[in-house]
């Protein structure tokens, strides 16, 4: 099994993200407001933008009637720095507008202060 320490838990505050490397693979480590860590390929599946230059934010939910806005999932949505496509960090990196598409993810675990990506 291949595994690697990609950063320390203290490197990323809840609601933030950073890029790192898993071998030669450029990866994106995200930390949601509940403190959990997630690892994705650091490349948008649309046109290849570097996702760590985007933002972690919330989403306007699709459970809305016309004219209604509900801002939710704050700190759990990754938006691409180019075309603004939204990916749900806590739902396997699935795209909000088309959940059949997702950002490839990596296994991740925490040991002491070490954030470890493995497969």
């Amino acid at each position: 099994m291949k595994e690697q320490v990609v950063c320390k838990t203290t490197d990323i505050q809840p609601g933030e993200m950073m890029e790192s490397y898993f071998g030669k693979q450029n990866v994106l480590i995200c930390r949601t407001p509940d403190g959990e860590f997630y690892a994705f390929m650091n490349q948008c599946n649309h046109q290849g933008a570097p996702l760590h230059r985007g933002m972690i934010c919330g989403a306007t939910t699709d459970q809305s009637e016309p004219g209604e806005y509900h801002y939710c999932h704050k700190g759990e949505i990754l938006r691409c720095p180019w075309h603004g496509r939204e990916f749900d960090i806590k739902n396997e990196g699935r795209m909000l507008a088309n959940p059949d598409k997702k950002i490839p993810s990596f296994n991740i675990r925490i040991e002491d202060e070490k954030v470890i990506v493995y497969k």
Binding site: Q47, A49, P50, M55, R79, P81, W82, H83, G84
Partner: protein, 355 residues
Amino acid sequence: MPKQIPLVDTDIHERVQYQELLEYLDEPFKHYIQNCHWIQEKHMPYTQPSVAGVDRADAVIPDGRPAGSDLAFMQEQLLDDIGHEFGILTGALDPSPSSMHGWHEMAVALASAYNDWQIDKWLDKDERLYGSVHVAAQDRDEAVKEIERVGTHPKMVQVLLPIDDIMWGDPYYHPIFEAAEKHNLMIGMHHNEPPVYYGKWPRYFIEWHTLIPTAHMKQVTNMIFNGVFEKFPNLGMIMIEGGFTFIPHMMWKMDQQYRDLRHEVPWLKRKPSDVMKEHVRFCTQPSEELNKKDFMSLIEQMGTDEMICFATDYPHWDYDSPHRALPNLDPKLKKKIYFENAKNFYPKIPDTKER
């Protein structure tokens, strides 16, 4: 995009910061920026609901200046990284002198200052970059003077006209086309803020942005039926940032209308689709996500593979990557779309071998 295929990027947005224009402006116009805080008029009720407004979030200059405002950063992030052969600068429409609804004296001054800044800071500094002549077209005669003043610059390749609420095919503007043709300049049309809903604004940005191609279609229709290309046979026009998938519809519709209603526009001697094929080009960006089959079907419907030219729209948020935006096409077609079509369109762009 394979490395061996050169690229002419037909839409790159350089951005001026108003303070940089001051040295190119005379008084009192300098004063109106410096002390009275003039800013370009804006009309849309919304922001661009992307990550960083109109620009790619990763294109902001590291020192905090807005995207597109620094040549060295553009070279690093775009021109060197992609390996551009040539790029056409189209401005950031801020200022956009031809979009101003009044105070045309200020618009004329801004156009001249912008052109001088563009030549000084961009065209003279990077051999790959070619430019657009900015004019205040509402004041037609001043616009012609500006084309005469800077249109002879070897790296100015087109006259830029924004798509807002003026239809440029109107005979009033024909002296602008005459001056452009005289200097081997093409016409580049790029939307600024066209009110696409019957002269008003749709409720949501996504509606407006979806319908931008309709504003481009209106201008092409207007230019062709007003006989601009019959009157100026060496003039070409490129529609920038409106996409290309509507082209077959326009060709069919205009040809059918021409067969029925030619009586009204007797100066038009050819089928509109033939005028389009000869005189009008379209940037590919923003490209829809077409597979190869659908893309090739569109080319077949156009009846030519020489009308579309690749553009990135850097540094805007809806940037098209030369590597990923279009399906994987055959090398010969790729070379046309990424390079030859634009090179053949702009008479002032040199052959690479001659550089």
